[in-house]
């Protein structure tokens, strides 16, 4: 197999070859590094590439595997991290000018867990500055290129993660998701992204945007690969008191079950209002495909979910401002204009509004919990519109003109508020050839059912085996 083709293998496929020793970690890592060297100047997915370190880790993995020390399905797999995950001795910029030279002296728990599983760190990925934006446009490091439309936004804030996975510049990546920042770039770049349950994956050592809304999740080319990464990441961490001491199931085993008999609820209010027609057609097509797999689909109601938007606004603005205030007092000019204005908005949100939002959150969480006693998952679009052009500030659907940031987050941020797990899976292309994401939302700590449903759908998705036209 040509080196370039190795970079398009799934983690599961590459892992099986590594386990059988028909592929070496060094060969695979070299293939990714060569592709990064050839493509990333234009793709702008990486802020830092760790060529020497990655090759050294790959050589170590090769020796371990040859010596009978195979650790599991991530051993020897080249991955990359969004550049707000702390990495010991490696700069962690958060996509900002303010932290451009910051070198942490410790690894985030998620980085350490991937290293323990034997993954090879290729580098640190570009992102929306300080994770505060769904477009992925970055004034300091450039905007990663969406391989499905080179003039289109990759989505954010995990923009480098989405674009790198879609472009074959890493086998899988981590993103973070405060209002949709894993699921939005996954949807816009045509890959799989999972926001796990709040408390499922440790956030220790990850630079926060809004503590009570932040989640960390895997971004990959297949649902199976997402399951493999989640297996390594999930579980209680004493360093993050928000993580739950709840047993972690065998996610790969969960993939074996078919979807027949599962019940899925469609929520029309908010999530299906004012959809781009091609997005609507792709999601409705996914509904029919799931029904063809024996899934029972029914309409359900969440009559109060429209309160999620303003509640999330109050929480994210207040919490992010609280974290950034010291920088804003002394180094405001070093922020990009859009992120600075969004952060400063937090000082005008009243404490009473913040607390009301945290109370509303309990009500909305209970409402979603309630419907999830009658269905196994909710089915929603991930984004109401496909990837906008990178210079687009507003978009119009059904005569309604809004800021693209509002469009992109409308279907994702309610789920940050309620903390439920949510999986985005590619479900089709628009007439312009842009990917559409299907979002599945499950019960707290029941990522296994989402993965099972997502995997079953993936086998019949019109985007299965479809890839963007990548440079040779």
């Amino acid at each position: 197999m040509a080196a370039d083709e190795l970079t398009l293998l799934s983690i599961a496929e590459a892992g099986e070859r590594l386990r059988r020793r028909t592929l070496s970690p060094v060969e695979l890592t070299r293939a990714y590094l060569a592709r990064i060297q050839a493509e990333d100047g234009a793709a702008r997915c990486y802020i830092t590439v760790l060529q020497d370190q990655a090759l050294a880790a790959a050589a170590e993995a090769e020796q371990e595997i040859a010596g009978g020390g195979y650790r599991g399905p991530l051993h020897g797999i080249p991955i990359a991290l969004k550049d707000l995950v702390m990495t010991r001795g490696i700069r962690t910029t958060c996509g900002s000018r303010i932290l451009k030279d910051w070198v942490p002296d410790a690894d985030a728990t998620v980085a350490a867990r991937l290293t323990e599983a034997g993954a090879i760190l290729l580098g640190k990925l570009n992102m929306h500055e300080f994770a505060y934006g769904p477009t992925g446009v970055n004034p300091h490091y450039g905007t990663p290129v969406n391989p499905w439309g080179r003039d289109r936004m990759p989505g954010g804030s995990s923009s480098g993660s989405g674009a790198a996975v879609a472009t074959g510049l890493c086998a899988g990546a981590l993103g973070t998701d405060t209002g949709g920042s894993v699921r939005i770039p996954a949807s816009l770049c045509g890959i799989v992204g999972l926001k796990p349950t709040y408390g499922r994956v440790s956030r220790a050592g990850v630079i926060p945007l809004a503590w009570s809304l932040d989640h960390i999740g895997p971004m990959t080319r297949t649902v199976t690969d997402t399951a493999l990464l989640l297996q390594a990441l999930a579980g209680h961490d004493p360093a993050d008191p928000s993580t739950a001491a709840i047993a972690v199931p065998d996610y790969r085993r969960a993939l074996d079950g078919d979807a027949r008999g599962l019940r899925v609820g469609i929520v029309r209010e908010v999530f299906f209002e004012r959809l781009n027609p091609d997005v609507r057609a792709a999601v409705e097509g996914a509904v029919r495909a799931l029904e063809g797999l024996g899934v029972r689909v029914e309409e359900i109601r969440l009559p109060r979910i429209h309160h999620a938007g303003p509640a999330t606004f109050a929480i994210i603005t207040a919490e992010s401002m609280a974290y950034h205030e010291p920088y804003l007092k002394t180094r405001a000019s070093e922020y990009g204009a859009d992120v600075r204005a969004r952060l400063l908005t937090g000082q005008f949100v009243l404490a009473t509004q913040y607390l009301k939002a945290q109370r509303a959150r309990q009500v909305l969480r209970a409402e979603v919990d309630g419907v999830l006693t009658t269905v196994d998952a909710l089915l929603l679009p991930t984004t109401p519109i496909p990837a906008p052009r990178t210079d687009e500030r507003e978009a119009t659907v059904d005569g309604a003109r809004e800021d693209v940031r509002a469009w992109l987050t409308r279907c994702t941020r309610p789920i940050n508020l309620t903390g439920h797990p949510a999986l985005s899976v590619p479900c089709g292309l628009t007439a312009d050839g842009l990917p559409v994401g299907l979002q599945l939302v499950g019960r707290h700590f029941d990522e296994a059912t989402l993965l099972r449903l997502g995997r079953a759908y993936e086998t019949v998705s019109p985007l299965r085996d479809r890839r963007p036209s990548l440079p040779a």
């Binding site: 702390m86 962690t92 958060c94 932290l99 910051w102 942490p104 410790a106 985030a108 956030r203 220790a204 050592g205 990850v206 630079i207 926060p208 503590w211 009570s212 360093a239 993050d240 008191p241 928000s242 109060r304 309160h307 938007g309 303003p310 509640a311 606004f313 109050a314 919490e319 205030e325 804003l328 007092k329 405001a332 204009a337 859009d338 600075r340 204005a341 969004r342 400063l344 908005t345 000082q347 005008f348 949100v349 509004q353 607390l355 009301k356 939002a357 945290q358 109370r359 509303a360 959150r361 309990q362 009500v363 969480r365 509002a406």
Partner: protein, 67 residues
């Protein structure tokens, strides 16, 4: 969308929050706030009087930028 004056925002920033705000940012801040104020007021429709706020887990000390 509610209208929020730049003068009011400037006064709050300087006098209450004590965070300097560039006047060029105030237009965008006013627009963001204005778009949400009606929705924030309507949170009262949820009858929150018997509801406690969700607990915010605070980060442990020790990491300068992380948790």
């Amino acid at each position: 969308m509610a209208s929020v004056s730049k003068e009011l925002l400037h006064t709050i920033a300087e006098a209450l929050a004590q965070v300097p705000v560039d006047p060029t940012d105030l237009l965008s801040i006013g627009a963001q706030l204005g778009a949400q104020l009606d929705g924030l007021a309507k949170l009262d429709d949820l009858d929150l009087q018997s509801v406690e706020p969700a607990t915010v887990i605070l980060p442990p000390t020790g990491a300068p930028h992380g948790r």
